[in-house]
């Protein structure tokens, strides 16, 4: 089980976002930079949250932004945005969010192997705080277990 590619250009450290839409858009921008998605993918991720609510805040401080596989997804990919100032998504328990994980998945068949790899990282309860405090893309890749 391997994480999708998380190149350094898909990592945005201590970014400024005024609200949750801006934070999700930063994750979409990062996925577009790494070639995993088109810029339109941000809108799809935002639409999922508008439609279904802030359930994507799946752990304290962490949002898993994603949409369904579709024409906006070019390849499997992961992006990580850490926020200089945490933002609220409106979640009853897990706000405010300091780390946004952007996930692009090309085909539904692969998604369980991908999310299992994500779960492996975050089942360690210290991972979110470590990511929020990371000061370089290299450090983020180390925490995620993908650094060379």
């Amino acid at each position: 089980m391997h994480l999708p590619p998380l190149p350094e250009n898909a990592i945005d450290i201590a970014a400024e976002a005024s609200d949750w839409r801006a934070a999700v858009t930063l994750a979409g921008d990062a996925l577009a930079r790494s070639g995993a998605a088109t810029p339109a993918y941000s809108r799809e991720m935002i639409r999922m949250i508008e439609e279904h609510g802030p359930y994507v805040v799946i752990a304290p401080g962490l949002a898993l932004a994603h949409a369904r596989p579709g024409p906006e997804v070019l390849a499997d990919g992961l992006a990580i945005v850490t926020l200089a100032t945490p933002v609220n998504f409106g979640h009853p328990h897990n706000d405010p969010v300091s780390v946004v994980l952007g996930l692009a998945i090309k085909t539904v068949e692969q998604h369980l192997a991908v999310v299992a790899a994500v779960a492996n990282v975050f089942n360690d309860s210290t991972a979110i705080a470590e990511l929020a405090a990371a000061t370089s893309a290299h450090e983020v890749r180390q925490i995620m277990g993908v650094a060379e």
Partner: protein, 90 residues
């Protein structure tokens, strides 16, 4: 036994719940099939399920069901999942 995990897209969050529920069930020595699905297909996928795992946002949309609906707050906290699954299945 069948357990269904529900999220908006049927991938991503529900997949994480499925993976972690399977890990917890293995530790509890409970055999069950865990299926990840999106909220739009809950009525058909969960028709024969004993347990539905999901977030608070989806409880209303799941509507009437014979299954135990368990709301999970932290998807990565296997201790929370263990406690809630044990309470529902024990």
């Amino acid at each position: 036994m069948k357990i269904v995990t529900i999220c908006g897209a049927g991938i991503g969050s529900s997949g994480i719940l499925k993976v972690n529920a399977e890990r917890v069930l293995r530790k509890l020595d409970i055999s069950a099939t865990v299926v990840a699905a999106d909220i739009a297909s809950v009525a058909s996928v969960a028709a024969d399920a004993q347990v539905i795992l999901t977030s608070a946002e989806f409880v209303d949309a799941i509507g009437k069901t014979f299954a135990d609906v368990i709301v999970v707050e932290n998807y990565f906290d296997t201790a929370e999942l263990t406690e809630k699954l044990e309470a529902a299945l024990g």
